[in-house]
């Protein structure tokens, strides 16, 4: 491999600084003992302690987590089914229209999605709360799941399903025992994507949440409008930590699987 030129080193440093400096500052200030966020007054973890005393934040965190888990699970089920149907149905008239309609929410401005859902919920007289946020998040993240899953299904070897059917499996068994385990990585990354989308969604949640349920992003956003508090910094640092751990784990897992496959394939060539 060629060594880094000075130019490459500089642009890399600048790029990373641009990406991560703001977060680094946030993390540092979360350990600031001063109540004034921007004035450093020594190291302290007291804001973390206070954060865990703050009922409102804890409630919001709990709502967010519940919404994220349930909506991403629902979105994964529905999105996988939609992807499967579209990829497997072959060519029927209106297919392009259907797949286009599945992907439309990806490019639709969130404000519009949020507004239309709000109108719908009011129209059918549904009280806004955790349930409506779950519905809303399921709706928009399902599109993302179906994109991820259908890109995997396109390259899926159809004859594997046929072999399962040939051996006497029902179509459902063939899906459950053969297709699903093989496309599982795509389904899992679809779920993770839906989960993170739900975790940090602000716009759609603010349209569809009611006084009884507030999510963390809404809470943080409204708190920040009254001024940045050190507690928020602490909260954000925890979230950064969680996301970092998640991303690293996911990439390590997939890298290990790839490596093991490569090694096995080489070993098989030799026998």
């Amino acid at each position: 491999m060629r060594r880094f030129s000075r130019f490459n080193a500089v642009s890399l440093t600048l790029g990373f600084a641009f990406l991560y400096l703001p977060m680094l500052i946030l993390v540092i200030y979360s350990f600031n003992s001063n109540k004034l966020v921007t004035v450093w007054a020594g190291f302290s973890t007291k804001w973390y302690g206070e954060l865990f005393q703050n009922e409102a934040f804890l409630d919001a965190a709990w709502v967010t987590l519940r919404v994220a888990v349930i909506s991403s699970t629902l979105a994964t089920i529905l999105g996988t089914m939609a992807a499967y149907a579209l990829v497997r149905a072959g060519r029927f008239s209106g297919r392009t229209l259907f797949s286009g309609m599945i992907y439309a929410p990806l490019v639709m401005p969130e404000v519009i999605t949020g507004l239309s859902l709000l109108l719908l919920f009011i129209g059918i007289g549904l009280d806004r709360g955790v349930f409506t946020i779950i519905l809303a998040h399921t709706t928009f993240s399902m599109a993302f799941v179906s994109v991820v899953v259908s890109s995997r299904l396109v390259s899926f070897d159809r004859s594997l399903e046929e072999a399962a059917l040939d051996l006497g499996a029902t179509p459902f068994d063939a899906f459950r025992l053969v297709t699903l385990p093989i496309i599982a990585p795509a389904v899992i990354s679809g779920w993770l994507l839906a989960f993170t989308l739900s975790l940090d969604d602000l716009v759609i949640a603010s349209f569809t949440s009611g006084p009884s349920a507030t999510t963390l992003p809404i809470k943080i956003f409204s708190a920040v409008r009254l001024g940045v508090s050190p507690e928020i910094n602490a909260l954000s640092t925890i979230m950064i930590g969680l996301v970092t751990v998640g991303v690293i784990t996911a990439s390590l897992v997939s890298k290990n699987t790839a490596l093991r496959h490569e090694r096995d394939a080489k070993a098989a060539e030799r026998t």
Partner: protein, 384 residues
């Protein structure tokens, strides 16, 4: 060679076929993959499909397994119309050309898959899978995943998996292509053995003619979606019904010419073929005189052509059809040698002779002037 008196249900007008293709046509869009195919296959047959790539062999198999539906016509298995029977409800198992092994399951689990779907007991499954592993010599690899074994081993897993359920009808799409010669021959005999023991009907696709000849009760030669000839292996080889079949199966000399009824007073009948300006007419006493005045092709297997340094005596059996030429090339095949002899008009004739002597002592070599000769019944005269 198949003994036609012992097993030939296709000659018995009362025999009930296991598989019936009735005027089956399969189109993919405008492309015709199978064209108006009518064919019976009988229980306990070992039916081989032979034909060039893309002629529709796999498509026929897939229609039997239920993955493709005929565009027109009917397929019956055991007298039952298969039109609305899904693949998982057919007593048919297929070995896929691409193997289609389940990548996330071990060799053992792959083989057990079909048995588990039948709700067999644990011990039954264990026994059956062990039997299959032994048969295909995969015991050592049973806990490996498909990507951890070699190509030939994968092929054997696919074979074991399709055999495991002991189906009434087994479809094998090029089952032995990736095996070395020795293992292939052994597996061929295993297959014939299984067939004899279980009475399973086999439909097998192969690119290996020798394989088709060894294992098949009947061979179907296909061309562009149609079956050109169906016959026992010996008949296909000895009595091809068209130039296409003669050319496709084995090595052959094709001599094209104009037929005239033979009237030399010998009483032998047959025809003589005027085929080249400076060459004597060829005599085929076994040919139908109805071919008179038609253009015909004499198909002649190399092993029926003798080669000698002297002209064979005019009154001997090979003396009538004798042609002079020069040896251009000698293909040494161990027990046999194939001599490529060029005649004065440029025609190449292949003649085969067994090597009874050591190489150094053989008397015919390159550039020698020789005579190739054959009896009046050695060839098959085909129209066209």
């Amino acid at each position: 060679m198949v003994n036609s008196t012992s097993f030939a249900p296709w000659n018995d007008p009362h025999a009930k076929p296991l598989i019936q293709f009735k005027n089956v046509t399969k189109r993919f869009g405008a492309f015709v993959a199978i064209e108006d195919l009518t064919q019976d296959i009988f229980a306990q047959e070992f039916f081989a499909l032979l034909g060039p790539s893309g002629c529709g062999k796999t498509t026929m198999m897939r229609m039997l397994a239920g993955f493709e539906t005929p565009t027109q016509g009917q397929i019956l298995i055991d007298g039952q119309d298969m039109a609305n029977v899904p693949p998982n409800k057919r007593a048919v198992n297929m070995m896929f050309q691409s193997y289609a092994l389940f990548p996330h399951l071990s060799v053992w689990e792959n083989i057990a898959f079909g048995l588990k779907r039948d709700g067999k007991s644990k011990s039954e499954i264990e026994t059956r899978v062990a039997e299959m592993l032994r048969l295909t010599r995969l015991e050592k690899f049973k806990s490996r995943k498909p990507h951890q074994i070699s190509g030939g081993q994968r092929q054997r897993v696919a074979l074991a998996r399709s055999l495991a359920k002991g189906p009434k009808l087994l479809l094998l799409d090029e089952p032995l292509g990736a095996l070395d010669k020795k293992l292939r021959e052994e597996t061929q005999f295993e297959l014939m053995d299984i067939q004899e023991k279980t009475g399973t009907t086999f439909v097998i696709v192969t690119h290996d003619q020798e394989e088709a000849m060894t294992v098949a009760s009947r061979v179907a030669v296909m061309d562009e979606g149609r079956i050109v000839q169906v016959d026992t292996p010996d008949k296909i080889y000895e009595e091809p019904n068209s130039v296409y079949v003669a050319d496709f199966i084995g090595d052959v000399n094709l001599l094209r010419g104009q037929a005239t009824a033979r009237k030399d007073g010998s009483g032998d009948g047959g025809i003589s073929i005027a085929w080249a300006m400076e060459q004597p007419d060829l005599i085929a006493s076994n040919a139908d005189q109805a071919l008179t005045n038609k253009s015909v092709t004499l198909a002649l297997r190399p092993e029926k052509v003798a080669i000698s340094k002297e002209r064979p005596p005019e009154d001997g059996p090979s003396g009538i059809n004798a042609l002079e030429g020069t040896v251009i090339d000698i293909g040494y095949l161990g027990n046999l040698s194939t001599y490529h002899v060029q005649l004065a008009d440029g025609t190449m004739i292949k003649a085969q002779a067994t090597n009874t002597r050591r190489v150094a002592r053989r008397d015919i070599s390159w550039e020698d002037t020789v005579w190739v000769s054959f009896t009046t019944t050695a060839g098959v005269v085909l129209e066209g």
